[in-house]
């Protein structure tokens, strides 16, 4: 018996399932974690992966979740962490005191020299990017 259209649900594509996307992102992250900062490989790799995700996100090739049409009255609370972070980043950047009063990126640089932590950072960046593409 034929089902009415409004009752049918489109099955998620194979590559859209976490069992596929997470291992793919993990492999991409392990590769990205091997490239040192300021290297040509790192620049080309981030151009390639980011460019691909931007292309997927701007085309209609990936199914998107419905976006909210209105936000709750508590949205303004998100300005709290943003402002706190912005104040510290702004002040440390303007003062430019180096390691005595470091910016966030100066603090992160020594951590990201470790290959494992760099791969973890790559995974976080790619996973968040993939979530944005599907929104």
């Amino acid at each position: 018996m034929e089902q009415p259209n409004e009752l049918t649900v489109e099955a998620p594509r194979a590559w859209d399932r976490p069992t596929v996307s997470i291992p793919v992102l993990a492999c991409l992250s392990l590769v990205g974690g091997r490239f040192a900062s300021f290297s040509t490989e790192a620049n080309l790799y981030i151009l390639g992966t980011g460019g691909l995700l931007i292309w997927l996100g701007l085309s209609n090739r990936v199914p998107r979740r419905p976006a909210p049409t209105r936000l709750g009255s508590g949205t303004v609370w998100w300005s709290l962490p943003i402002v706190v972070f912005g104040i510290f980043e702004g002040v440390t950047f303007v003062v430019a005191a180096g390691d005595d009063f470091p910016t966030f990126s100066r603090l992160a640089d020594p951590l990201l020299e470790d290959h494992l932590l760099r791969s973890v950072a790559w995974f976080a960046w790619l996973a968040a990017f993939w979530e944005l593409v599907r929104r």
Partner: protein, 70 residues
């Protein structure tokens, strides 16, 4: 002393992001999740141009380039 202040400030900001996300995920919360907030921003269009989507993708790509390639 100033270094500890900077580290403490950034850790506090990151902790606030985590607390906000936790509060947003509670039942009946009026605070949207960070994902919903981003999705709402990405709905913004000027004519046929998805300005919100381009802006957020551009910002996220720049962030990755800044930390992972520069």
């Amino acid at each position: 002393m100033m270094r500890a202040l900077a580290i403490g400030g950034f850790l506090a900001a990151l902790a606030l992001f985590a607390v906000m996300e936790w509060l947003a995920r509670r039942e009946g919360s009026r605070i949207p999740t960070l994902g919903d907030l981003c999705a709402y921003v990405m709905r913004y269009e000027v004519g046929p141009v998805p300005v919100g989507r381009i802006g957020l993708f551009g910002f996220w790509w720049w962030l990755g380039w800044h930390f992972l390639a520069r």
